[in-house]
């Protein structure tokens, strides 16, 4: 399929998965007739009925908790959390229940539940609507944490997530929801969420995911003008991290910068820096640098450009890296 937006690619993945397996259900707030506030679930209710596309009461803990119960009964629920910041009322069910069930039952009972979370800023939204909470989930064992950055991956990752026997949190970048691209519906033949080298380069590497992939590509392009050949890696999977690809990339480029909208302190970049520091000791030409949101709350929308990392900050980090 050519020229689908991320939203349409996700929608198509849901249509396909629901058609292929009657056990796949969609639930969340406004996912039914309305098709979700971002229209990711558009048309599902008409196609598969109210029984399989469930407009839930307004309660995120209830959404995740009942999704767990549905999975116990043999279904594969795909839950939508309307915006990033709203996942916290359901956080206990994720951390203490969803993520633990397989361990708690000595491996007997896995929970094939997908939680879709539109995330990230840059869309001029109100408080709690521009968050990047992925680090909270990366620190939680028992979850797969994915993020897509383009229509192809949106489609592929969501199909893989639904097929996964364990819980998957899929972070969908709101700021890229309307970006268009080709979608090959068969998807690449890769382990779920393998990292992807979006732009190969030799001199330095930008490790990123979600909305910042675009920003990093812009920065890499600008850097090319200055004669720097910068690689951009879309991590796609934040848990587990595809360390083989990441290490290989660090080995080749010897300069690594991690870029994300999540906050600096204990954001994903902290783990990457810690691992690479140890695993690549002596093999890098500069410390792993991090370009991230400040360690504050998200600002009022009209100030968000001064909060979100942009290509300038990435270029500045590249300069700093090359200065070592």
């Amino acid at each position: 399929m050519s020229g689908l937006t991320v939203v349409k690619a996700l929608n198509r993945a849901l249509h396909e998965a629901m058609a292929a397996d009657p056990g796949v259900l969609v639930l969340g707030e406004d996912v039914g007739v309305l098709g979700g506030v971002f229209r990711v679930t558009e048309g599902l209710s008409e196609a598969f009925g109210e029984q399989r596309v469930i407009d839930t009461p307004l309660a995120e803990s209830g959404i995740i908790g009942t999704a767990i119960g549905l999975a116990l009964r043999g279904f594969r629920p795909v839950a939508e959390i309307q915006f990033d910041g709203f996942v916290f009322p359901g956080f206990d069910q994720v951390v203490n229940q969803l993520a633990r069930y397989r361990s708690r039952t000595h491996g007997r009972q896995g929970l094939p539940v997908v939680i879709r979370i539109p995330f990230g800023g840059g869309i001029g939204a109100a408080e709690h609507h521009s968050e990047s909470p992925e680090a909270y989930f990366m620190h939680t064992p028992g979850l797969h944490v994915l993020s897509c950055a383009c229509p192809q991956d949106a489609h592929w990752l969501l199909r893989q997530a639904i097929a996964c026997p364990d819980p998957v949190i899929l972070f969908e970048p709101k700021a890229r929801y309307y970006a268009k691209g080709e979608v090959d519906e068969s998807g690449p033949d890769l382990p779920m969420g393998s990292a992807r080298i979006v732009r190969p380069g030799r001199d330095a590497a930008l490790l990123t995911y979600g909305p910042m992939v675009r920003t990093c590509l812009d920065a890499a392009q600008a850097a090319a003008g200055e004669g720097r050949d910068v690689e951009v890696v879309d991590l796609r999977s934040l848990a587990p991290l595809d360390m083989a690809t990441i290490r290989a990339c660090a080995e080749r480029t010897r300069r690594v910068i991690v870029v994300h909208e999540a906050r600096l302190t204990l954001g994903p970049g902290a783990e990457l820096a810690a691992r690479l520091d140890e695993e690549m000791w002596g093999a890098l030409d500069a410390p792993v640098l991090r370009v991230a949101a400040w360690d504050t709350h998200y600002p009022p929308a009209r100030t968000e450009r001064a909060y979100l990392p942009d290509a300038e900050r990435v270029l500045d980090a590249l300069d700093r890296s090359f200065a070592y």
Partner: protein, 371 residues
Amino acid sequence: MVDIEDPTQPVRLLTPEGELVEDPRFRWRGGDGSLVEMLRGMRRGRRFDVEGAALQRHGELGLWPPLVGQEGYQAGIAAALNPADMVFATYREQSLALAMGVSPADILALWRGAGLSRWDSAATRMAPYSLIIGSHPLHAVGYALGVALGRAGDGPAPATLAVYGDGASSQGDVNEALVFAAARRAPVVFCCVNNGWAISEPVTRQSPIPLYQRAHGFGIPGIRVDGNDPLACAAVMDWALGRARAGSPVLVEALTYRMGAHTTSDDPGRYRSDELTRQWAGRDPIERLQTHLLARGLVDRPWLEALDAELDDFGAEVRRTCRELVDTPIERVFDDLLVEPGAHLAEQRAECLDWLSTVPGSTVPGEEVGA
């Protein structure tokens, strides 16, 4: 004795046609002057809403949550509140917020993305907005428990009011608020605004039974009022707040209707019929009070024309205010975080301002507003 929780009819004192009716439980005790004030407040609220929606269309605001049709209970609450009472409400109680003295500038700043809850909540008695649906009634209950502990100790104990929607009623936090209020007899009034919808979901998706009955399961009296009848709302709220001040929690369900979209981002045509909206148009809170006041000669055409002119001025002022809003400078995310944020944040602050100073056309730290 009259059963105050009689479920058959919501409390109503003024019909949609503008006629006074008797209710065995409640009477309107305010003077005629306050009726006129209520009309003015509702008209002001609606005008603010019209301006807000227009400003959003013109790109001046990021979002606007229409309140049209919901001015009635807000006027009733405003009329019943004592100055020391404290209100925790939602983004759709803008008319009430204005009545309590929150400035249009502060509300506009929030929807413009120029600020968050900038207003002085201690002075206005209007708490900041929490956009996590259902999270604030617990704050209200805590505040009320604090009142009961009597630390302030001056004057009559104020009541605390938690206003939230039919959708919010499903959140665990709202139910925990009822648990805490009941268990410790918090001097709090819960006002559940049932406007029929939580975005695209009709209230039947939240509850098979009327929401005022939710209270009964927690040991709290619950009562339903015609939320488009400002007189009934004022009378019921007056009773409820009084009861709270005397130490007993109570829940009031205000039955109303969201005439507009959920927000300016929403398209209600996708999920509901105009038919229902048309029915509710006949129960407009402003119409009925205006008809009533005209009939009784408490206002007349010239008065209304004068009000129109006043509101035109208000509207112009709102637009001007919006244009003049100054964005919150980015350094406030650092400065407002903690009294002692530590060295690392200070470094980030410096790095941030440094970066901005090098980016051409970036937000130059603006002038201080709102604090």
